[in-house]
Subunit: 236 residues, 2 copies
DNA sequence: AACGAGTGAATTGTTGAACAATTCTGCTGT
DNA sequence: ACAGCAGAATTGTTCAACAATTCACTCGTT
């Protein structure tokens, strides 16, 4: 019976990649990527006509895609005015870190004995970050850092926490893009990440959580200070 | 300067109730209420034509509303098949409780010194629950219980946690409606809630968190056991 | 020159119809 | 009983139109 159940499981995971591809979702995927890469700067207005013409989709479909991204908090919708790439306020950045503390340290402190595969994910993210830092590829260092924290949250073993964390880190990128001169922002924390991963591997999760708490405080302070200097973007 | 700032604040909070009322959102509000009240049972299919005719809105507008509720996880969308009121699986119920543990006990353990107004909210929810129990109004007991846990989460002082918790409790109602004979489900926990509120009021948040943990374990066990008996609803 | 009112242009909100793509339904024949 | 097939029903998507609202600009007044 074991093999039969495995078939079902594999089948279910493939299903979505085959048939389920609505245009609105693909449009949303595109826009999301642009926003996260920084091609669409916070505050930018996305007019239905221009975007629709550029992507060759109807206004209705485009509006469905907009709704999706508004709900993900990457865009904001002002009635009768249009949709804009979201501009995070300082308060919102602070709140983002508040939730990170709750989720990430909670995942560490509450987890019984995390699946070894998840602990391995932690290590892989650290390795990748250090490799990228050696090569001076700061963008890669940033992504590896995000992956690390995603892996920390996933120690909770909850699909929903994973999803929330994904969205949360995506929003945080909105703040990163606004700021100049933060290429090497994540670099000093690489050593910290390794230490945290080691502590988790050794089963000292409470201690790892404490260290993570300190990291989050420091990163938040640094980010908020920088962000306050240019709340509307570096060019305003 | 204080009064001027207050004006701005009040203005901003009123703005949304005045102009911002898109049809799609109002439709979504209606549907959400129906789903949460149980009028639309989990598994029910919402055809675009019927719903559109009943609510007197166009298909496009209705589809926007559907997207909203799908993203809130109250509806599910199957490509080329339509939208259905979501049917929670047992795994998903378990995950819901996992996140509740993280959020609620985290809000208690991590909070420094919660705002006294929030602690008062806790007490009010308890009072209301006990009053409703005296009057044997079990539905009201349920709502008061939800309000209590919402108030617990809000001790974190994070708008985003509040929002997540709201959505999470809404989803949980999907599970409640499926189950028969659970009118008095929440009643035994009223005393627990009062004790937790007292502990928080006395500043013993860690102890309150422990008690809350036990409550969540017990409630989850009970709910899952009942839910397993009739995963597709009481009439299947 | 600064400022407010007002007018027209541009954009969004919403609808309805149309057609393509897919799924559902019921029939048929074996 | 069951596989296959045709037609009906439903969803996916686009287009065109109009109402409602905001934006941008001019104009006249001070």
């Amino acid at each position: 019976m074991g093999t039969a159940e495995d078939w079902v499981e594999l089948l279910a995971s493939d299903r979505e990649s085959l048939d389920r591809t609505s245009t609105a979702e693909r449009v949303a995927d595109l826009l999301r990527q642009r926003v996260l890469e920084g091609g669409l700067a916070p505050g930018t207005r996305l007019s239905e006509e221009s975007a629709g013409r550029a992507l060759a989709v109807s206004r209705n479909t485009l509006r469905e895609a907009f709704r999706l991204l508004v709900h993900e908090r990457l865009l904001v919708h002002e009635f009768h005015r249009g949709v804009f790439v979201r501009v995070l306020s300082v308060d919102e950045v602070v709140d983002l870190y508040r939730v990170r503390r709750l989720l990430e340290t909670g995942a560490l402190r509450n987890s019984e004995e995390p699946a070894p595969e998840r602990v391995a994910d932690l290590g892989r993210a650290v390795d990748e970050g250090e490799r990228a830092a050696r090569d001076r590829e700061w963008h890669e260092v940033g992504t590896a850092n995000m992956r690390f924290h995603q892996a920390v949250a996933s120690l909770a073993g909850s699909p929903r926490v994973d999803e929330t964390m994904r969205q949360l880190l995506a929003e945080l990128r909105l703040a990163f893009h606004v700021m100049p001169g933060l290429r090497e922002f994540h670099e000093p924390y690489l050593e910290n990440n390794r230490r945290i991963a080691e502590l988790v591997g050794a089963g000292h999760r409470a201690e790892a959580a404490n260290r993570l708490d300190e990291y989050l405080d420091a990163a938040e302070t640094q980010l908020v200070a920088e962000y306050r200097r240019c709340p509307g973007g570096p060019h305003r």
